[in-house]
Symmetry: C2
Subunit: 436 residues, 2 copies
């Protein structure tokens, strides 16, 4: 590797701060493969950050010339922190006798689990910017990373993910068709908590719409979606066009088995094959460690769980609870198309499911009796036209025979056809699992 | 990270060797995060390795105690080599003023692009083993890595590949059904030259055999196959059982389009879907950068190229030339089932293709005339029963209309039914590309 100019941020707010910084610089000077070119003055700054108040920091920046990789500088920095008496791994937001960050490493962009260079909060930190300026770095010229980053091209998307894999990052992906609501956001937040990098994909997939369905009319608002993704901590949004996802010769598809039969599969021929194909393609492109899906589309989750296992994607499929409006309506991108009267009537799906669940709680065990309780609620709402109401096994959603049941999930689909545009809504509820 | 005992191998065979080793040890002592516990005596040993003769080496081993990662020790070693006057990146097999290897790092096994620990040639090198013994290391207890490593479990296979991805390795995969011959070996050798890690998969895939085909009788000899893989430089053989590849609920499959129609697709219904499904699964499990396939199964390559693109695997599909016996017969695992007379007759496939190619070279341009030239050769061999003979476009193998052609690939399949077991053979040849 050729030599580069690298900049290390030094800070201390515990013990003899100035001595700690001076010793660190001396130790760096003694390190093989590294030449200390210059060191900024040390300046005091008030503590900024989360948690309880802390003593002020003394900060400085060291300019080194080195052929050592950035990860090596990070490891050496940790070794110096340890020498200075800091317990490692360090608890967050505690006073520290020494803190060393890799701020810049040549012109390189690094995005690994352990290290992001240029340092991601560089531009927010005057205690770093001032010493960098003193050392002659044109900080204004340093690019500020977009957040979330937006990529349209599949090959570029795959390449970024490859870099993350090589950087040891755990990757979570939230496949969506956009028109994001709180349900999607709940998936992104969970993905954020469980992964080093979070991807949301936004793609209205023509393969999963029937010829008479609402592909063209499906709501699309990329700018609003990006705002929600950014607020939920998504790192990367993959938003390809149809032509980018499917070239003219596209012809392979993923066929799925019994999980795709009945319910949505019966009403929407080819729908689940379209879903399985696009999700397999997304999984193949990003090779995520975890994929997040909402339980509102419970049959979709069952189909995708099967596909993921059958095709061997080393990915954990995470199923997340339905997010509901205050009146119980399951959140859906299609809810915006409900007229006011239909919107009020649409709560009937959840009310019907709750009635069935309550009957089970009160001792009713017969499959058809439970279904009848729920059906009676739906029929009373004349604006709703029932597509299906079923009780299926958990977690695989296999049909349950007539007779007594000891568990199960009620699944319902209904249409509201009185508004300007017919709207189909889905909902489901476990008889025994967590409510809502 | 907690501290571990690590062992660094030092060597020099240029300049003041002893001084170079002593300076390196001193520099290590000054390095943050690293304590030199002990240093072996320095011993002289004759040069071993490829290339022209070199002066003898002076070698020693340093025992350090450190919390620095192994990759950091490697980078520091390179920095010390550079300080000692060694040009980096170093040309192979040149005398060197200093050479530093990471031999052991705690009990850790590391397998990345840059670093394999324990050092892979440790057990072959007395100039390393002797100083390690002097430092009290029980070298006999160190496991010798199996080569190739054999894995049967898909999850374990995926996990090893994940480690390689995180280690920055480029991965090549050679999917096979075993019964390996020189054709397979040529794929492995190319994969070895183009990748950091090479996988061969050995799996007789029931999905791609019809009910009346030779799934049960397909030749299997894992031990012989492992020998061939090892000799070809394969790092890992993935050899799952049918139950490990397909659990009882398996039901998804990959369906393929026009590339799978006609020729093999017409004669073997479901064959290419079975091939596409198992290969998609292998690609999903290992996430290889390159996949190697022989051109003998030309239609299979066309189908897999389409599948790879459609499902979005970020993998380059490498198509390798047919390897032939001295008399021109394309190598095939099924050749072993040919009786002596059929074996002699089987050269008719290649002879027919060559006749068509020669007619093209001599100016014949009409599709059907070219096919007739080849067909005449086949018909003259009474032991051969022709399944199909076609001229298709390159590289996609789409049907060519009747009339003049300016390029194309002749594809043939024939059966030899007089032996103990009927054998079907395939072959193909470009009219214009490289011969054989």
């Amino acid at each position: 590797m050729r030599e580069v100019d690298a900049y290390l941020g030094l800070g201390a707010n515990l013990g003899d701060r100035e001595r700690a910084l001076r010793v660190a610089v001396q130790r760096l000077q003694a390190t093989p493969g590294l030449e200390v070119v210059a060191c900024s003055s040390f300046r005091e700054s008030a503590f900024v950050g989360e948690g309880p108040a802390q003593p002020p920091y003394l900060n400085g920046v060291v300019h080194v010339r080195t052929a050592l990789p950035a990860a090596t500088l990070l490891a050496l920095g940790k070794a110096l922190e340890r020498e200075a008496g800091r317990a490692l791994p360090a608890p967050r937001n505690q006073p520290r006798p020494l803190d060393i960050d890799v701020l810049l490493h040549g012109g390189q962009t690094i995005d690994t689990r352990e290290l992001v260079v240029p340092h991601p909060r560089l531009h927010e930190r005057e205690f770093v910017l001032t010493p960098l300026r003193e050392l002659g770095v044109d900080v204004a010229a340093l690019a500020r990373p977009a957040r979330p980053r937006v990529i349209h091209d599949p090959a570029e998307f795959a390449a970024v993910c490859t870099g993350w894999h090589e950087g040891g990052c755990q990757i979570g992906v939230v496949p969506t068709m956009g028109a994001l609501h709180e349900g999607h956001v709940s998936l992104m937040r969970l993905a954020r908590a469980e992964n080093d990098r979070v991807i949301a994909t936004i793609f209205v997939n023509p393969l999963q719409f029937g010829p008479k369905e609402d592909f063209a009319a499906y709501p699309r608002d990329l700018q609003a979606d990006l705002g929600r993704c950014g607020a939920a901590g998504v790192d990367l949004v993959f938003a390809p066009s149809v032509a980018q996802m499917y070239d003219p010769g596209f012809c392979s598809h993923v066929a799925v088995g019994p999980a795709a039969e009945g319910m949505e599969g019966a009403l929407r021929p080819g729908h689940f094959s379209g879903v399985a194909t696009v999700v397999a393609r997304l999984f193949a492109l990003c090779r995520a460690h975890r994929g997040y899906f909402g339980q509102k589309d419970a049959q979709q989750v069952a189909v995708l769980r099967r596909m993921t296992r059958d095709l061997g994607f080393p990915l954990r499929l995470v199923e997340c609870p339905i997010v509901r409006e205050p009146d119980g309506l399951a959140m859906s991108s299609r809810n915006v198309y409900l007229g006011a009267a239909d919107r009020r009537a649409a709560t009937v799906l959840f009310r019907a499911l709750c009635a069935g669940r309550q009957a089970f709680a009160h001792g009713q065990r017969h499959r058809d009796a439970l279904l009848e309780v729920a059906r009676t609620v739906v029929i009373a709402e004349r604006r709703a036209s029932l597509d299906y109401l079923e009780l299926r096994s958990e977690p695989d959603l296999e049909p349950l025979p007539a007779g007594p049941v000891d568990h199960g999930r009620l699944l319902i689909a209904a249409r509201f056809v009185d508004g300007a545009r017919p709207v189909r809504l889905l909902d489901n509820l476990s008889l025994t699992g967590p409510g809502a």
